[in-house]
């Protein structure tokens, strides 16, 4: 009798073929194999920019002269700043910064030109939203050069004597919210949204597909239970889990990283709760779409990637091209990052939070409607 083959090529090959056949029939997996690298390549390749340009800037022009216009033009020409608004006073400037509408406010004091002509070396003020220190550094580093170029261009003739070795005017930069430029202050609060969306979307995504995969869904459907009862009932435990996670991150942020907490804790938890609801609804919707637990996992990854990359968590939101910002603007994590950083670092109140709150509410409602629509009350 011959001994059996220690390694049979034919047997091995049939395993290979079987794996290919099964892979071919799992459409979602196949889609992911193609989709994920394309998405990653597009996002990393085109959307992400660690040296952001065209950052929204507002001007408070209390003095309007050739020099100030020239300086504003220089800002614009530098490509770092995009003048989006002209504001009447300092207060509205602060509000625009708090709400994240602009990252810089250029404040030109009333008697700037007069002082300049008198050679008193006046100052311009740039207030910067420094929550994300990496986003601003390059732009702010460019400012002294701009001053020099304006001086070279405009201070000629009778005024040429001001254009000596020292700059004729100063630009004072106020780094608001995170004056020391500590990266952790920006990253650690942002982590809360990342952790919440990853765990919650995945866990609820699996919750429904698990019932379907094990056949218990049919049993559940045969009882008088209503879709809204199943969906809301299934998410409650995860709401608790989400709040525990939020608390852990808050404690870590405070105790380990000494992240300032300027705003109210109540606002933090309200924002977290809203974001938890949004994430859970996404999870439930994904699990209605997925056929099995593996697909639910893959869809979670597919949802998670743009959220991480385009929400301003990892890379400056304002540095992304417009199309990427549009995508970012429909992602819940974008708004939650603004909310949580706004509350913790800027001390934003409800009024400043509102511009980020309502999109999150709409997102949650829309996704919930989709979830209920896709939840099949029958086995059809």
């Amino acid at each position: 009798m011959s001994r059996p083959h220690p390694f049979s090529i034919a047997r091995w090959w049939s395993i290979v073929l079987k794996e290919f056949l099964q892979l071919k029939r799992d459409r979602v997996t196949f889609g992911m194999i193609v989709g994920v690298p394309i998405m990653q390549m597009l996002l990393f390749g085109f959307a992400i920019n660690t040296d952001p340009h065209h950052m929204p800037t507002a001007v408070i022009a209390q003095d309007n002269s050739e020099f100030t216009r020239s300086f504003v033009a220089a800002l614009r020409n530098s490509d770092y700043f995009r003048i989006v608004d002209s504001l009447p006073d300092e207060q509205s400037g602060r509000a625009a910064l708090a709400q994240g509408k602009v990252l810089f406010v250029l404040n030109i004091p009333p008697d700037f030109t007069r002082k300049l002509v008198r050679g008193e070396k006046p100052s311009l003020l740039i207030e910067a939203d420094a929550t994300d220190p990496t986003a601003m550094s390059a732009a702010l580093a460019a400012v002294p050069q701009l001053v020099q170029s304006v001086a070279d261009k405009d201070l000629k003739g009778a005024l040429a004597h001001f254009n000596g070795s020292a700059a004729p005017f100063d630009v004072n930069v106020h780094r608001l919210y995170n004056p020391e430029g500590i990266t952790q202050y920006n990253v650690v609060p942002g982590l809360m949204g990342v952790v919440l969306s990853m765990t919650l979307v995945m866990m609820t995504g699996l919750a429904m597909t698990r019932e379907r995969e094990r056949g218990t869904m049919e049993n559940l459907l045969a009882t008088p239970v209503r879709p809204i009862e199943v969906i809301t009932g299934k998410i409650v435990p995860y709401v608790v889990i989400g709040l525990i996670q939020a608390t852990i991150i808050l404690l870590g942020a405070r105790l380990v990283f000494h992240v300032p907490m300027v705003g109210s804790l109540i606002a933090v938890y309200c924002a977290a709760l809203l974001f938890i609801a949004a994430s859970l609804m996404v999870g439930i919707t994904l699990s209605s779409l997925a056929q099995n637990q593996l697909q639910a996992m893959q869809l979670t990854v597919f949802y998670f990637l743009p959220n991480i990359l385009l929400s301003g968590f990892m890379f400056p939101f304002q540095g992304m091209p417009l199309w990427a910002q549009y995508i970012g603007n429909v992602l819940p994590l974008t708004y939650f990052n603004r909310l949580i950083r706004g509350i913790l670092l800027k001390g934003n109140g409800w009024l400043d939070l509102w511009p980020s709150l309502w999109p999150l509410m709409i997102f949650t409602t829309v996704v919930m409607l989709i979830a209920i629509k896709f939840y099949r009350n029958t086995l059809d």
Binding site: R214, N219, L379
Partner: protein, 317 residues
């Protein structure tokens, strides 16, 4: 349990039900009536549409066309009411493996908003004989116990109609016998049962039967009515080498079907005279023992399935 509609007329009354999955026509023009207190057997080969039909009757699937009532409730519009009064036992065990026996029963009791929940669950555990193992995880139960638990769970809310989808598949004979005795006890109390099965002995224990193949209902009535409806004559031949004998006989006039039962061969045919002539001749030639036999339910089912296979093949070609 005072709702009027259920007590008058049949508990299941459906007409012209159709269901497609993609381009597959799974159930074709199904008409079915089940009377109160009846055990109604639902038979047919795998994939013939039994499960789909049952699911349509309890509102888990929406029929593409057709109308019907279940316990007097419209199967299209009142599935919520139907679910409340029907006990449905799925083909595959569908309780939660990672809950204990008590937790599963308790969960189901809560789903039906039962008021005396604890008492009912205790009672169910007691009569199941599982009271001492109530805290055991359901996943660790054997097949027979799972089946008993599933029946107890779907009986918990005291349904008036049980829809059982192959409840005894993979269950040992003793457990099956106990199970059927329980069904007859329930039927005696006025609970109606629609049960699908592959077992002939179970079919014979039903009050009425329906036979479905390739989505079409082929026969319906008592076992005797179904046997009579096909007008088959059956003989039994005893001898050796029945396989060869069977294939030889199938070519002969009057022989429609041969089925081996142990060391006897059942030969059936529609044309009684031709069959008798053929068999007497063969028996004489080969010195075999020939005697008339009762046409059994199984003979009839095999015959009907063969007929419908032929029809199906023709329709497909």
């Amino acid at each position: 349990m005072t709702d009027a509609p259920a007590d008058a007329g049949p508990v299941i009354d459906v007409h012209g039900l159709n269901k497609h999955f993609g381009d597959k026509h799974v159930v074709k023009d199904l008409d079915m009536q089940v009377q109160r207190g009846e055990i109604y057997g639902f038979l047919g080969p795998n994939g013939s549409g039994k499960t789909t039909s049952i699911r349509m009757m309890c509102g888990l699937l929406t029929p593409d066309s057709g109308t019907g009532t279940c316990l007097g409730f419209d199967i299209r519009k009142q599935s919520a009411e139907i679910k409340r009064h029907v006990g449905y036992m799925t083909q595959k065990f569908s309780y939660w493996d990672d809950l204990t026996i008590r937790e599963n029963l308790d969960f189901i009791a809560r789903m039906y908003e039962m008021k005396d929940r604890k008492q009912k669950v205790d009672q169910a555990l007691e009569s199941l004989g599982l009271a001492s193992r109530a805290k055991q995880l359901t996943g660790s139960l054997s097949g027979g116990w799972k089946q008993r638990l599933a029946l107890a769970a779907c009986m918990l809310h005291e349904p008036r109609l049980l829809l059982l989808d192959e409840p005894t598949a993979g269950v040992d004979p003793t457990a099956r016998r106990d199970f059927w005795e329980e069904l007859h006890r329930l039927a005696a109390q006025g609970i109606s049962v629609l049960v699908s099965t592959h077992y002939m002995d179970e079919a014979e224990r039903c009050h009425k039967l329906a036979y479905i193949a390739y989505g079409s209902l082929l026969a319906q009535g008592t076992a005797q009515e179904i046997i009579d409806s096909q007008q088959l004559t059956t003989w039994s031949l005893r001898g050796d080498n029945l396989v060869q004998l069977g294939s030889d006989l199938r070519q002969q006039p009057g022989v429609d079907q041969t089925v081996a039962f142990g060391n006897a061969l059942h030969i059936s045919g529609k044309d009684a005279d031709a069959l008798e002539r053929t068999l007497k001749q063969v028996a004489a030639e080969r010195h075999l023992q020939l005697e008339p036999a009762e046409t059994s339910l199984e003979d009839v089912f095999i015959y009907m399935m063969k007929q419908s296979t032929d029809n199906f093949a023709e329709a497909g070609a």
